[in-house]
């Protein structure tokens, strides 16, 4: 999708965002119990009830829970009776938001509820994530998510794009956030190597959490939110699955998605990047051409809280609430999926002129 407004294209905005605290373990809560307060929060912000919502779309992953069709149980939290118009993506909720955005663009609905959640605590996340890899050549070797990110980090260091000190500074800056929902806040020791050159401080905390967003079209958005965060463009791109085919120091898919979302037409004042590893922020800054005039991850980003399947949607939500509050006029939100930034989604959000 290009950002050039086609004639008659509907304006769609993020009008509300809610998220849970991200916690290392939430064993006392089922997924729906973890999710429900977030759904109630996001609905309460707009005064909407589930029956008022035109379309519902969610993101989650069965491999985290270790159970098939686990998302169907979470539907209890949205009140799926009488029947609702609903869909699900088996990935981060940012992609569920993309689907909801197209649904609203088509005119089939005026409002959409998008939510996503993930509990990493039941399993071993590093092992679980190996199952998303190429099953013929890669998954049988069980390279975990930290190992693959470390290969990318070393490639960046070899290319002279960064060094371990700069990576540590990215981790430290991310965790000085005042985000009350973050899992890690304040000074955190950089720690030992998990997989060299990445130390514990270069890696995201492992946590459970949920996020939810409400989208609305045109005048409906203005009724529901004082300063809607208009989605000016949104696009997602993917690169070859084979890591050895890619230049790991670059992210052409993030750049192309940003271009198609209109990110390069004017500078953004805020960027919420879904970079679970410090080294990935280096890649994204370069690919997206982000300079010092852009505030990067005031929320702390994925280095402060990385609930699987919700962290990308949370980036869009965090960017949007800054526009709602008047702290940003034009923000870029990014979500990723897969090893070493294989898949990237970029949304450009703007508030009405003040």
């Amino acid at each position: 999708m290009t950002s050039e407004a086609s004639p008659g294209r509907r304006e769609i905005a993020v009008v509300a965002f809610a998220q849970s605290d991200t916690l290392r373990s939430t064993a006392e809560l089922s997924e729906v119990e973890m999710l429900m307060p977030v759904l109630h929060d996001v609905l309460a912000q707009t005064g909407l009830k589930t029956a008022d919502i035109g379309f519902t779309c969610s993101g989650s992953c069965d491999y985290l829970a270790g159970r098939a069709f686990s998302f169907t149980l979470a539907l209890d939290g949205v009140g799926a009776w009488p029947p609702i118009s609903e869909s699900h993506v088996e990935t981060d909720g940012a992609w569920a938001l993309y689907e909801a955005w197209t649904k609203l663009l088509s005119g089939d609905a005026d409002t959409a509820l998008v939510y996503s959640y993930g509990k990493s605590s039941p399993g071993s996340l590093r092992d679980v994530l190996t199952r998303q890899l190429d099953p013929y050549y890669v998954a049988p070797l069980w390279p975990d998510s930290v190992a693959l990110a470390a290969l990318q980090a070393q490639a960046l260091i070899d290319a002279g794009d960064t060094d371990e000190r700069e990576l540590a500074a990215i981790g430290a800056r991310s965790r000085t956030t005042d985000n009350p929902r973050a899992q890690l806040k304040g000074p955190v020791p950089q720690g030992d190597y998990l997989v060299r050159p990445l130390r514990r401080g270069d890696c995201p905390p492992i946590g459970d959490g949920a996020a939810a967003v409400i989208l609305a079209a045109g005048e409906r958005a203005r009724e529901l939110c004082e300063r809607p965060a208009w989605i000016r463009g949104i696009d997602h791109r993917i690169e070859a699955h084979s890591l050895g085919v890619r230049d790991l120091t670059d992210s052409p898919s993030a750049r192309l998605a940003a271009e198609r979302a209109g990110a390069f037409e004017r500078p953004v004042d805020t960027a919420e990047l879904h970079a679970p590893f410090t080294s990935q922020e280096v890649v994204l800054r370069k690919a997206l051409g982000l300079g010092d005039s852009t505030r990067i991850n005031p929320s702390g980003g994925a280095l402060a809280a990385n609930p699987m399947m919700a962290a990308g949607l949370a980036r869009i939500g965090e960017a949007a609430v800054r526009i709602h509050r008047g702290e940003s006029d034009r923000a870029l939100a990014h979500a990723t999926s897969g090893p070493c930034l294989q898949q990237n989604l970029v949304a450009v959000l703007e508030g009405d002129p003040r």
């Binding site: 089922s30 729906v32 119990e33 039941p122 050549y137 049988p140 290969l151 085919v245």
Partner: protein, 313 residues
């Protein structure tokens, strides 16, 4: 809040995957100690090979022989190997561009320590002793300071090619059913059935999941239901499940416990399978020491009137 239940949950799956012509040639080649790549129309050689050009999406089949020696393009030192990884002693993950290839292969490098590894170092394949036609036929890479290996033509044709792999996976979880289902399961162990009432629509859900699916609100008020109930619908199972010691055919039913607004599942016993019917009144049967009902059997009461359970179908 009482402690929630927890139990180990192991998910194991042997995925049987078929190989196309290119992957078959590559993995059969590994079995025969030959590394094959595939040539794109613009002359690049991809290793490991794929069936479609990642840039143009064009179908590619032009197999070429590449070296078993190569150069590390990036690496990461893994001081704590994890289950299933190629080596159980500390090793480096490496991307290796084999001689004659334009792309890199992911594998492990056996080296004494991180100081012995650098980008640009020369390595060679260490073959596994027993090879089956899988990526693990490469046991790992090892440092190598000899010449480039000779690269010759190869048609990629072998006797007895492998056509598939079995991708074994095992993931270990600690499953917790959460607060509401913990209360339900604990009550079952005391031979009671406990549901939760929705504060909004007043319906009683059994088993409770902590939320009313109609209203989308949390439930917490506990309500004891049953023990008897009514069969609302059923099916006759004719396939014997693995690890399940139940003779087929048997009846699996939806049972609305008295006082519940949702039917749960259970097996019906104590009655020939072809005499089970909608409206049959049943009660749970616990086996000695069982934490949950083994099955449900007829109570002997007259059948329930259809009007009393039609909303629960």
């Amino acid at each position: 809040m009482p402690d929630v239940l927890k139990a180990p949950l192991v998910v194991e799956f042997p995925f049987t995957r078929s190989l196309g012509p290119v992957q078959s040639a590559f993995l059969t080649g590994l079995r025969e100690r030959v590394v094959l790549g595939v040539r794109t129309r613009d002359g690049r050689t991809l290793v490991p090979p794929v069936e479609y050009d990642p840039v143009t999406a064009e179908e590619i089949r032009d197999l070429v022989h590449v070296g078993a020696t190569g150069t590390v393009t990036t690496w990461a030192w893994n001081h704590e190997p994890r289950r299933g990884q190629p080596l159980d002693t500390p090793f480096a993950w490496v991307l290796v561009r084999l001689d004659g290839a334009d792309t890199a292969l992911l594998h492990a490098l056996d080296a004494p320590g991180p100081d012995a590894v650098r980008t640009g170092m020369r390595v060679r394949v260490r073959w596994a002793e027993e090879r089956t036609g899988a990526i693990t036929d490469i046991a790992c890479f090892e440092p190598y300071d000899g010449d480039d290996s000779e690269v010759t033509f190869h048609a990629g044709e072998f006797a007895d090619p492998v056509h598939g792999i079995v991708a074994q996976a095992r993931l270990d979880y600690t499953y917790s059913p959460g607060r509401a289902q913990t209360a339900y399961i604990n009550a079952l162990a005391e031979r009671r059935a406990v549901g939760e009432r929705c504060p909004s629509c007043r319906k009683v859900y059994v088993p409770p999941r902590g939320a009313c699916p109609t209203c989308g609100v949390a439930t917490s008020e506990q309500v004891e239901v049953g023990p008897a109930g009514t069969v609302t619908t059923f099916c006759i199972v004719n396939i014997k499940a693995k690890n399940l010691d139940i003779e087929v055919p048997y009846v699996y039913a939806h049972i609305a416990l008295d006082g519940a607004d949702l039917a749960l599942h259970g097996r019906i016993g104590g009655i020939p399978y072809d005499q089970v019917r909608m409206g049959l009144r049943v009660e749970p049967v616990w086996t000695e020491g069982g934490r949950y009902p083994d099955h449900y059997r007829p109570t002997g009461e007259p059948d329930a009137d259809y009007e009393t359970y039609k909303e629960l179908l």
